[in-house]
Subunit: 222 residues, 2 copies
Amino acid sequence: MSHPALAVTVDLVVLTVRAGALHVLLVERGEEPFLGRWALPGGFVRPDEDLPGAASRELQEETGLPRGLVHLEQVATYGAPDRDPRQRVVTVCYLALAPDLPVPRAGTDAADARWAPVADLPDLAFDHDVLLADAVERARAKLEYTPLATAFCPPEFTVAELRRVYEAVWGTTLDARNFHRKVTGAAGFLEPTGGTTTRDGGRPATLFRRGPATTLHPPLLR
Amino acid sequence: MSHPALAVTVDLVVLTVRAGALHVLLVERGEEPFLGRWALPGGFVRPDEDLPGAASRELQEETGLPRGLVHLEQVATYGAPDRDPRQRVVTVCYLALAPDLPVPRAGTDAADARWAPVADLPDLAFDHDVLLADAVERARAKLEYTPLATAFCPPEFTVAELRRVYEAVWGTTLDARNFHRKVTGAAGFLEPTGGTTTRDGGRPATLFRRGPATTLHPPLLR
DNA sequence: CCAAAAGTGTTACTCGTACACCCATGA
DNA sequence: TCATGGGTGTACGAGTAACACTTTTGG
């Protein structure tokens, strides 16, 4: 049977929380088109790998993180005929949530790489501003009803650190006392490690790790 | 630049409510592989059309409905290397919600077509059981916080008809009186047309059309 | 009149929010 | 002892669930 063949790529929206603000990993393009412009990391899907595998491989190539430590989920697929001026490219966009990482190294075909604050972005190559906006909205929505915010935290964290993640992603301020009750009361969300820390000053705060829950009951509201 | 070329298809999960139960449009395959097995309708993306355009065209070819009358949204993309035994195929799955339609005609490359109850399905070709399950779960979730249930209704409908949609999609029963208060109280969900009908028997019911709201405040809960 | 479905009123309970208040540490 | 953030108690209002009750039609 005959059929049109298209190029298929995977693009990544890698988010982290740094200095109280949501940041995204961008790479500077080292070739045409959009030479010198900032873009989302990504690359072609290889013939022998599936879509999550391609996303995971690209993520490792860009961040150097071991696979499996970072939350990774598919967001949407974009395939307008003119979105790449060279050829027809359909791209599957993945969202990755990572704890605060060292400044990334440049990838194989990228001139440079950096964390950019989502609130103050440069013009992006291709339709990557749309991909990014959709992925950020997905992340914001998922914080409400899943324990995904813990993906931004180190293995052990305090309730205040978790709250600052929510405040950074949602761009709001939350009542620290009600937030504490809600997250510690949601079954399976947080497990105390037994330890405490005073790294935030004041009274020692209980340290938690992520619990087994996959959804939050009741959900946290923006 | 060199890159691997893949086939890209669009598959459709077309849902409707018939006889109080959720149904999906299936086609019988007229060629190998999976000859004679039931599958989701779909086809290759053409070089000159975007993804929503391909989904809309396939939908029209399978149902004969004019474009734009049916809700259509992307669900997810599937690309395991072995999901089609002939060749590498990446498929973008779309969800369509339609009012009760006449029995569909067979498409161009389908031997037959029918509405199948989602609660009692045959074995499907390829990984279409997964695509279907993901799309149905998306539809169920969206009824909670969007006015999407109206996409299953004719242009003018009663609150009871809308309630039977929710009951069919969720597989639950709902309190008719509380449901009435909730949907008529949600701003922008329903607009009275001024007319009434007794087609359900009993006291005449007010007829409504879909309102301008895109999200429901407060949401309806399962 | 009776059955059936539409639509309203009422009550008890749950949950989110706001905020007063106390606790445990470092300086 | 004071400042700082951690954590608890409590009261008020909004929203939900359960269900008694009234309304308006067809037969």
